[in-house]
């Protein structure tokens, strides 16, 4: 029974940053991840990280862009905290060894990004997330005495004591199938988003909403779950991401007639309007018959100088070549909007605290909210680092004043029994786990996407609820202990279904259009009624809705145009 003061679940950027920050406070830290940390999905963040570091830029400008990008649903106090802290965090990463791009003077250089009024995106080619995450992992290796790593351990449930404090988690060691309870005085969830609910998605196969569902199941509130970002440039069918950096470097979007259609939708910012705006523009072109027969529009990167493409967009050259058979330096590549990011998640305050005492959340799993209805490109890395650090510091403070509580062995026995029950189901007793998962993905992508309306959303919700019933009897093939991914897949599907239900309920409930939630049956933003967050709480009768206010500090909602 390994005990730590602070237990971090998830080892992407938010988790690693939280673990390092907690360890710096002198407490014992454990970090658990269902994959080796460097496999985490933070890798996929290509374009960069925003910070108003340059003397001509200001954190206020960055904060305003973020608030406007969010369609005024972000909490402005949280946005201020994030944007103020960004330059210092960026320099910290540089000092740790991240190989950020330099300008000719040898100083940190920037690129332009969507929805931003200044070029404030710092980057490492187009592998920024990977570069930062590998450097943080270097630090975890350096501080291995202070931070215990549990790599390839799968969390099956959070434990609460009698007073309702979160006091640890139960995990399965994937390599040998053994189960253990990890005691902790504070637990930080950093498990990422739930993009796998959609098919296709840019998200990795591991992004199954584990932490969102685990927190939801122990009574934590979820917030803004209807806000799901569709990224404007993903490969049709496969869902692979083409970085916004491509447009930041000057690439154009063209419809099948060769028209640069963004002129109609965002005459000032063109391709660099915020993502919800660009995705809707593309989808409108496609729906109105000006797309290509494969349901796409084209991203023309050939207008960027070849030298610059190779230097700054090399990953995209490889993605084009390996996954689409296209040399992006020579011809446009076909793209479409695709599921990309979970703006919502576990509701937290500015220190990462959820409404469950001792339970924290940071990064994509959490909803502070700094992204509101739409996240700006290159703000996600920043979110993970700033709120990962803050959660780590606050969790360590909490841990210092408390004793370790141990939950009864019955909790662990329950978790083990639940897994044994799934493994014990006979083949053919119901549907295959994979069938249920694929049906879920298709339904969500069809009805809970760029354009939504009541009928489709209700169809999606009905589908999710039917699948939840079928889930109870679905079976798996693998009956073993060693690396039984089959049973983990079944548990993940349960997490996904909980997240999907909360998402559908919130999307049905918000009868307006704001950010990523565009309702064709309620096509206007309605600040009088809907300038508020939708919170979802789990009850035995299903998700229960409540509201919380949007914090406004200095930017009153205005009409949004790019």
């Amino acid at each position: 029974m390994p005990d730590h003061d602070v237990l971090v679940i998830g080892a992407g950027l938010a988790g690693q940053r939280a673990a390092l920050a907690a360890a710096e406070q002198g407490v014992s830290v454990g970090i658990i991840s269902k994959v080796h940390p460097v496999r985490s999905h933070s890798n996929a963040a290509q374009g960069g990280i925003n910070a108003a570091l340059h003397e001509d830029d200001s954190w206020e400008s960055h904060a305003f862009d973020t608030v406007k990008g969010s369609d005024y649903l972000a909490d402005q106090d949280a946005v201020e905290i994030m944007c103020r802290a960004a330059p210092e965090e960026l320099l910290h990463l540089e000092h740790l060894g991240v190989t950020f791009h330099r300008n000719e003077e040898g100083k940190l250089g920037t690129r332009a990004f969507g929805g931003a009024s200044a070029a404030r995106t710092y980057y490492v080619a187009d592998i920024t997330g990977q570069a930062i995450m590998h450097v943080l992992y270097e630090q975890l290796m350096k501080y291995s005495d202070e931070v215990a790593r549990y790599e390839e351990y799968f969390t099956t449930g959070l434990a609460l004591d009698d007073e309702g404090n979160c006091v640890g988690a139960t995990c399965r060691n994937i390599t040998d199938g053994s189960m253990d309870h990890f005691g902790a005085k504070a637990v930080i969830l950093a498990t990422g988003g739930n993009g796998q609910i959609w098919h296709p998605t840019t998200n990795a196969l591991i992004c199954t909403g584990d932490g969102i569902a685990q927190a939801y199941r122990v009574g934590a509130k979820l917030m803004d779950m209807e806000m799901i970002q569709y990224h404007p440039t993903t490969l049709a069918g496969k869902g692979f991401l083409i970085t916004e950096g491509a447009r930041g470097e000057g690439a154009h979007l063209l419809n099948a007639n060769g028209e640069r259609f963004m002129e109609k939708y965002a005459p000032n910012k063109m391709e660099l309007a915020s993502r919800d705006v660009v995705s809707r523009a593309e989808q409108t072109e496609i729906n109105e018959g000006r797309g290509f027969p494969d349901g796409t529009v084209a991203l023309d990167i050939t207008v960027v100088p070849r030298k610059r493409i190779h230097e700054a967009l090399r990953e995209i050259v490889l993605v084009g070549r390996d996954f689409a058979g296209v040399d992006i330096t020579k011809e446009p590549i076909h793209i479409k909007p695709g599921n990309h990011y979970t703006m919502g998640g576990v509701k937290t305050d500015n220190e990462g605290r959820t409404n469950v005492p001792g339970l924290y959340a940071a990064g994509e799993v959490a909803c502070v909210s700094v992204h509101g209805g739409n996240r700006l490109g290159a703000n996600s890395l920043l979110d993970t680092l700033i709120f990962g650090r803050r959660s780590g510091v606050d969790a360590a403070e909490r841990a210092k004043g408390r004793d370790q509580t141990h939950v009864s062995h019955a909790f662990l026995d329950d978790q083990e029994a639940r897994i044994a029950e799934v493994i014990g189901r006979e083949n053919g007793s119901g549907r295959r786990v994979s069938e249920v998962r694929l049906e879920l993905g298709d339904a969500m992508d069809k009805h809970v996407a760029v354009f939504r309306e009541a009928e489709g959303l209700n169809t999606a919700l009905e589908t999710v609820r039917r699948l939840k019933e079928e889930y109870e009897s679905c079976y798996i093939d693998d009956k073993g202990h060693v690396f039984n991914q089959d049973v983990l897949g079944a548990i993940e599907l349960g997490y996904m279904l909980d997240c999907a239900e909360a998402t559908c309920v919130a999307a049905i409930h918000r009868t307006e259009s704001r950010g990523a939630q565009f309702r064709t049956d309620f096509s206007e933003r309605n600040d009088d009624e809907w300038l508020k967050h939708i919170d979802v709480t789990r009850t035995d009768d299903g998700p229960e809705i409540s509201y919380s206010e949007v914090t406004i500090t200095q930017w009153e909602p205005e009409e949004r145009s790019y």
């Binding site: 994959v35 460097v38 496999r39 985490s40 999905h41 890798n43 996929a44 320099l91 540089e94 000092h95 060894g97 190989t99 950020f100 791009h101 330099r102 300008n103 003077e105 100083k107 250089g109 080619a125 592998i127 990977q130 570069a131 590998h134 450097v135 270097e138 630090q139 290796m141 350096k142 390599t175 990795a204 196969l205 591991i206 496969k238 070849r306 493409i309 190779h310 230097e311 090399r314 990953e315 490889l318 993605v319 070549r321 390996d322 996954f323 058979g325 295959r432 786990v433 994979s434 069938e435 694929l438 798996i476 093939d477 693998d478 073993g480 060693v482 690396f483 991914q485 089959d486 897949g489």
Partner: protein
């Protein structure tokens, strides 16, 4: 949609049998990947098939494995491409002692195995901790700057960051380790991934311990001179990190640093290049002498360890003769090495001169430049692969320039 057959090397540690082969028929678009194929087999036929995977887009590094005997990422290998490779190379017939060459569709089977040089945990899942991560930690894999950090960023030449970003692009997938021939011979070899990681710090101007790192890696008998320069890791790397090139850079840096390693690695490297420059082909007898006791002085007053090294090399030399690796006995007699025909040796020397003049380090992040700016309109540009073969490989010419090893 099309039909493909995957022939998968399976191993279930909890069952009483050893590894075995199993074939799965999958029905997918040919431009989808071998990983997509494995996932379909998992979804439809057997959920117990173990394979690490996550991003599907060659950035997380989870799905390293051997496909048709080649170490790579499954998500980056397209089914069509894998099938045609299997056809050309008749792969299925070569492995597993299985007589069936083609699957039930009459098309060749795509052979899928776990990575090499690592213990197998289950099916396609290997133990990377004991073989890969231990070695990564061996190279002190974190930046060691001098003193406290500056108030702002470190000011460094922009090209230095682009330079180390090539090794920063490593996703720790293990494909290079899987394919490494030196590691097959010496399991303690630090290996291509860890040495590329080492270059990431040694090449970083912010690191204050570069010299100590170089000494450490040069003196380690399983360090930079343990690489046999076989290019396997360059072929295997899905991210263009070219680990062997990074090892050669480490050797050049060690050479510039004047490190004479206790394993005679540097002498061996120097002897190799000089012999080729002079004779065009390898004079093994002289190579052995010069590696351990270089120059006239070395022979007259052999240094400590030289004779020991020479004597210890004799069994290897004898095995070389026995197995035909060295073609004839006279090759072992100093002074009777054949010359190249005609003016061939002058050509060799010209190649050396060319290499001397072109010492500039190119890497994948800056290689796109020249054709872009110099090529006149309509000029035929080299195919990407050809570009990769020449420009992206500073190590490609090292067989003929300082930095060569054997």
């Amino acid at each position: 949609m099309a039909d493909f057959t995957l022939k998968v090397r399976r191993f279930k540690p909890e069952e009483q049998q050893g590894p075995y082969w199993e074939t799965f028929d999958v029905d997918l678009d040919p431009t989808l990947s071998v990983l997509d194929g494995l996932l379909q087999a998992k979804d439809r036929e057997d959920g117990s098939l173990a394979v690490r995977c996550s991003c599907r887009a060659a950035i997380c590094g989870s799905c390293g494995m051997k496909i048709n005997g080649q170490s790579t990422l499954a998500c980056k290998t397209m089914l069509e491409e894998a099938q045609s490779f299997a056809e050309t190379h008749a792969v299925a017939a070569q492995v597993g002692g299985d007589k069936t060459e083609s699957g039930s569709h009459g098309k060749p089977e795509i052979v899928v195995e776990p990575m090499g040089n690592m213990p197998v945990v289950k099916d396609l899942v290997t133990d990377m901790e004991s073989t890969h991560w231990t070695k990564i930690r061996r190279v002190t894999p974190w930046l060691l700057p001098e003193g406290d950090p500056p108030e702002r960023e470190y000011i460094v030449p922009p090209e230095s960051m682009i330079d180390v970003t090539q090794s920063m692009a490593c996703i720790q997938c293990g494909a290079c380790v899987s394919s490494c021939l030196s590691m097959e011979a010496d399991p303690d070899f630090i290996g291509p991934a860890a040495l590329a990681k080492a270059y990431r710090f040694i090449g970083d101007p912010r690191d204050a311990e570069s010299k100590e790192r170089l000494h450490d890696l040069a003196q380690d008998p399983h360090g930079i001179y343990d690489c046999t320069h076989c290019f396997s890791c360059i072929d295997a790397c899905p991210k263009g990190v070219a680990p062997m090139d990074q090892i050669m850079r480490l050797r050049r840096a060690a050479d510039e640093e004047g490190i004479h390693d206790q394993n005679h690695g540097r002498n061996h490297m120097e002897a190799f290049t000089k012999i080729i420059e002079k004779k065009g082909t390898l004079d093994e007898a002289q190579l052995l002498q010069d590696s351990y006791a270089p120059g006239v002085k070395g022979k007259l007053v052999p240094k400590h360890g030289a004779i020991k090294g020479l004597v210890e090399s004799l069994p290897t030399a004898i095995r070389g003769v026995k197995t035909g690796k060295m073609r004839s006995l006279p090759k072992l007699i100093p002074g009777v090495h054949p010359k190249l025909p005609g003016d061939a040796q002058d050509h060799v020397k010209r190649i050396y001169a060319h290499a001397e003049d072109h010492q500039v380090e190119l890497n994948l992040y800056i290689r796109g430049e020249e054709p872009d700016e110099e090529a006149p309109e309509g000029a035929v540009e080299p195919e990407p692969d050809q570009v990769a073969d020449t420009e992206s490989r500073p190590g490609a010419d090292t067989g003929l320039s300082p930095g060569a090893g054997s």
